[in-house]
Symmetry: C2
Subunit: 362 residues, 2 copies
């Protein structure tokens, strides 16, 4: 377990320091990149989001020639007390079982990161079962959250600790040379707090943002909606205080995802946001520090019905749509290839002048 000798004030100070390091993108680099893109042998803007992404990368890295050296998915694992209400199709012990699967390289995220030439960093932020060896639990903030249908999922101190764990994991990856990050999640029941966060901020009817997660049936879906409604009523999160929202109706891995995003932004590193759970974490990050939004790269369009509304809260348009609903960072991992493609377009295409190609009719 994490050393918890820090006081709430210590944690708050550390967190404020993280936020204060986040700045806006470099407009100069973005303008240079746009000018070069417009000289390349293609109709202007015809490579759409690839052009937007490479500009964003330049703005983030403060360079007209952004580079990707090393890539990693930060996979945050945590459990949820709300599973006691029967909101998930899978038993809770799947969370630790999947952690071992990640460590052994057998899960979908392992396959897709290998395919992308990236690594997976799996962190236990709050699994509810013991892991062996105990070293695996060194960043665990709590043995899962409490049942948010009956009260706050976390204390403020726990939420801050989990945010800072996420930031620390990102900081270590960046120190190791990673300069393109992605978020991932594992936690049986975690579409429930994610749906609660999206319902709370989007103000949409709960039925519009609560989906089937790993595959609950109709009765399960009705129950899940009722549980989320109750959690919102019982906790009454403060819309002006994202930390309050996170603590009351979030999750430990959701907090860590938000923290990783904030650290990436502070370190000028782009971060690809995976599906529904990651996007809920990203919403918390953007509410805690709106400048962090510009460091986020969208990935896929999840089957989970609240995902679109969640992306809209951030102004993100997904790049791929494969009807996936797995989490783990799998959608984000598939997008590393596209982000890298955007840089190769900038650096390798011929210009109209070089290639002797005529430009558009006036």
């Amino acid at each position: 377990m994490l050393n918890s000798s820090k006081t709430l004030i210590d944690l708050q100070n550390e967190f404020q320091q993280l936020l204060s390091g986040i700045t806006a993108l470099d407009e100069g680099a973005m303008t240079s990149i746009q000018e070069h893109l417009d000289s390349l042998t293609k109709p202007q803007n015809s490579l759409g989001q690839l052009e937007i992404i490479v500009k964003q990368l330049g703005g983030i890295q403060q360079s007209a020639h952004p580079k990707i050296n090393k890539k990693a998915v930060l996979l945050m694992a945590g459990d949820h007390g709300v599973v006691a209400e029967g909101v998930s199709a899978f038993p809770q012990e799947v969370t630790p079982q999947m952690v071992y699967n990640f460590l052994n390289g057998g899960a979908a995220i392992n396959v897709l990161t290998r395919h992308a030439g990236a690594e997976v960093v799996c962190t236990d932020v709050g699994v509810a079962f013991p892991l062996e060896p105990a070293e695996l639990m060194r960043r665990r903030v709590a043995n899962g959250t409490r049942n948010m249908a009956k009260g706050p999922a976390m204390t403020t101190a726990e939420a801050l600790q989990a945010l800072l764990v996420g930031a620390e994991v990102a900081r270590e990856a960046i120190a190791g040379g990673v300069n393109l990050l992605a978020t991932g999640d594992m936690g049986i029941g975690n579409t429930t707090p994610s749906s609660a966060i999206v319902a709370f901020y989007s103000k949409l009817p709960i039925s519009d943002v609560v989906g089937r997660g790993t595959g609950i049936n109709d009765a399960g879906l009705t129950l899940k909606q009722a549980v989320i409604k109750k959690a919102l009523e019982v906790n009454k999160p403060d819309p002006e205080d994202a930390l309050d929202v996170l603590a009351k109706i979030g999750g430990l891995e959701i907090a860590a995802i938000a923290g990783a995003i904030l650290e990436a932004a502070a370190k000028h590193v782009p971060i690809i946001i995976d599906g529904f759970i990651s996007t809920a974490g990203a919403i918390i990050a953007a509410k805690l520090c709106p400048l962090s939004n510009a460091y986020m790269i969208p990935s896929h369009d999840s089957v989970e019905i609240g995902h679109r509304a969640a992306l809209q809260l951030l102004g993100l348009e997904p790049m791929i749509n494969l009807n996936m609903r797995l989490g783990e960072g799998t959608g984000a991992a598939l997008c590393f290839h596209l982000v890298e493609a955007s840089i190769r377009i900038l650096e390798e295409m011929a210009t109209f002048t070089d290639a002797g190609v005529s430009e558009k009719n006036k």
Copy 2:
């Protein structure tokens, strides 16, 4: 130029032989793959289209363990007499200029295929300008099509020749070891015949399927719509005869794309369909031989407004959406990575039993 000593009967016989070699997918291989996918450590079907694609690959390759060895984009180039009506934003000499750009490796498709570890095979099926050396023109069927606003774009013999050129190019690539193909196009003005084909088969209002191509303005768009309306009225293609449709309102590169698709199907090779022009070619292929539809893998969702309607005619759902509108095969090239990912999922993920992960609650 192509040797044109063959009679129309010769061409028709050769083409019928191509069609007769196309069979349905192997259901047995697909069932085996589905069973294995359902044993892997993920909620069933949670990898969405990745699972569907790997099943399709198995059905095409007639194997429960499909493999990708070598990948290529078949880029077909041709010009269009209809540009005389003023339907394009770029001058026609851009077609040969871009052919040289492809051969020199400076175009977007060169960059994206290098990134994907694939090759580009560029074929002049009907450019309207001389190319040097003359060897580059050895498969040219005609110096561009005729103006379809005034009569048929091609003769039946020309359309058949261009279909067979496409088939031959695909056959050579497959003989060279390529077992994942993609289609690409280059031809100033080619969104006009493509829109005509999509309007004709979808029966949608012309304004719903005619877009801005490389970037015409509002007046250009109105003109383009009127030209397409006129081409349909002047030519009256026979809806029961796709070869008639292709000859009258198609293009030489569109015919070659259709021919490449049919050859891929006959040789049990999957083929990724690029954007709007490729999809128009794919519609012709599917009308000529409905069984070929099952060999097509969708790629991206183009900005060109008729693309969605075109994909719907084929029952294809795009995998990526990057707001691209470049052609050349660029959208398809970005999907090689996703198709390969689907095979790695099948072959590398742990099963529930192997990983000791609990299955879904009953």
